[in-house]
Amino acid sequence: MSASIRFDGVSKRYRVTGSRYRSLREELTRAAQRLNPFARWGGDPHRELWALKDVSFEVPPGQALGIIGPNGAGKSTLLKLIAGITVPTRGRIEVRGRVASLIEVGAGIHPELTGRENIYLNGTLLGMSRPEIAAKFDRIVEFAELAPFLDMPVKRYSSGMFIRLGFAVAAHLEPDLLLVDEVLSVGDIAFQRKSSERMRQLLQGGRTVLLVSHNLPVIQSACERVLLLLNGQVAAAGPPEEVVRTYVSLFQTPEAGAGTRPIRESSEAEPPVRILEVTIGGKAYVGDPLPVMWGEPLTVQIHYAARHPSALADAYLALAVWRGDALRVVYETTEGDPDLLAKGGMRGTITCTLPAYLVPALYSVNVAMHDRVTRAPCDSLSNVLFRVTAAGRGDGATAWDPNRSVLALPSTWSADPEPRVAAVPPAPLPEGSG
């Protein structure tokens, strides 16, 4: 049987410009420059970024394929190519069947429309027909737990309701091919449980599934095969345990992470609040992991610029620390303090300090400005790397091992010749057991 997805030497290039779109004036200047044979200097101001380089693979029908890799490895680009949102720069992609993506849940929900209107609009956008939506309408509403609020404009919804609405519509598509990009952690605990249950149903339905996640245990349990992407190339493909082991081991070598760049992602050309730079211990990240001593304060500073004062009241900042990109060890937000950002003014600095009680290893700081209503990130800077080192415990038999624990708390051990706690006598065994 022919493959569900076939990538044949696929490459994708993005042009990185100062501003995302070109102005006519800039274009005319450049056209004039091209005409001038002496204007060799200057060159093309567009830098190129190859998000994917010569990627080939196949997914047979019904297979669940996991895709792992550090941020910026090209995972999202790969999903966008399969969904047909963007086209490859080189190569050929074949996709068989109806595709549904749980990539950007809630995209296309309009704040001025009611919940009911949005279910129809969003369903249509995702490719459902009107009778199909009508047939599933009650199930979607029940799933989202929004029955009492159906005729209220979505702008009056809480952030949780908003996310539930988006997920509920997307989760009721019945595709041949399902693309999932880590959307399981939405809503409150009860809804998270419900959505992961729904995901499991979808995964078991014999569909072809592509699952992008940083959650390696989930990848290992849900996928039959895993693809590891590094710098836009397929670095490994095969059984989950094998590929995951390869991936994790990459982050334990001392040279890991050298030369990687921070990754910037914005929801729009000019997000309401832009993250300008993230520094650790006052130092800017220029491609080599910044050193942090174990136990000393880890100071992360976020420099930002707001487009207008009200943007700050509508936003909150989230900070995550990932270990070797595979495990999220810290997640802190300013969501509980709505006034904090405004105190920094239109251009300011937010500082987060936490003790670096982390097992010596390579870590990545990801910072994102989120919209308070949609909870979606509007601007983010990720992959700012630092390495925790500990004098004396850095190597040898006493070294902390990232394979064994996440935290390295300041513990003390002691020994005493006399037992200080009264020994509890063992309970008598009940008759007939053993």
Binding site: R90, G91, R96, G108, H110, T124, L125, S129, D176, E268
Partner: protein, 282 residues
């Protein structure tokens, strides 16, 4: 329909330079007509939310322009009106013109306004500018009702030339779609278009026989005039048919039809080429 295609999963191929497949892509837009309708309905619903006058705004713009034109170009400047009362003379041209200018400026900004959708969801991109034209047609329908009332008020009797009106409208829609496809795609790359459009439409208004009749243009120049501005023969055509029961010069009308179709096909080909990059550069 999408549902019936599930038995035999359709194969889709993505390559760097896919063929334009103009007719096939139009069929795709047709297959997404439900979305077309939903987006248009959304635009209409959202447009007049939290306004006091609501739908009255649809009529207020051409109506107030009619008042201003009647005072300045009619009463003060005494421009010729082919014998028609000034308010009727101006309004019968302003109603189709407002449909053109309103839908063109809405279509131009339609793609950039939907940046969130274009970067996140795959659907035929052509749906977006077409939906904004569809949404603008509601304002046109309402303004047409007012125009109908004015015709009754001034005692204009229906004539045989009125059968031409749907033809004018069809040509106008084809031309507007073409211009909308071109300008909306151009605006994705060059945001200058957004700022140029109000100016362009302002100048275009005076380059079209609205405050003056086409008869004011010397007969020998009319071919060139219509060649540069196909809207001229349409706008004057509506008015001459409505108020005088006269049909347009057939040669000029055919010229406008050919132009509208050529613009629409050419612009859609440009749109199809440009749409591959929308998600990357918007």
């Amino acid at each position: 329909m999408a549902m019936t295609a599930r038995q035999v999963p359709a194969l889709r191929v993505f390559t760097p330079n896919p063929p334009l497949r103009l007719t096939a892509s139009l069929r795709e837009i047709w297959a997404f007509r439900e979305l077309l309708w939903q987006l248009a309905a959304r635009e209409v619903r959202v447009r007049y939310k939290q306004t006091v006058l609501g739908v009255a705004w649809a009529v207020l713009q051409p109506f107030s322009m009619m008042v201003v034109f009647t005072i300045f170009f009619g009463r003060l400047a005494r421009l010729p009106s082919d014998g028609a009362p000034y308010p009727l003379f101006y309004f019968s041209a302003l109603v189709p013109w407002s449909f053109f200018s309103g839908s063109l400026s809405a279509a131009t900004n339609s793609l950039t306004n939907e940046a969130g959708l274009l970067t996140k969801i795959a659907f035929p991109r052509g749906v977006v500018p077409v939906a904004s034209l569809l949404a603008a047609s509601l304002d046109f329908a309402i303004a047409t009702l007012i125009l109908g009332g004015m015709l009754v008020f001034y005692g204009v009797a229906p004539s045989g030339a009125w059968v031409l009106l749907p033809l004018f409208l069809a040509v106008q829609v084809i031309f507007t779609l073409g211009a909308g496809f071109f300008l909306s795609a151009l605006n994705v790359t060059y945001r200058d278009v957004r700022y140029a459009i109000p100016l362009l439409l302002q100048l275009w208004l005076y380059a079209t026989p609205i405050v003056y009749p086409l008869s004011l243009v010397p007969a020998g120049l009319r071919v060139w005039y219509v060649l540069v501005n196909p809207m001229a023969i349409l706008i004057d055509g509506y008015r001459a048919a409505l108020l005088q029961g006269k049909g347009p010069d057939p040669a000029l009308l055919i010229l406008a039809v050919i132009e509208a179709v050529a613009v629409c096909v050419g612009a859609y080909a440009y749109f199809r080429r440009a749409e591959r990059e929308f998600a990357d550069i918007i």
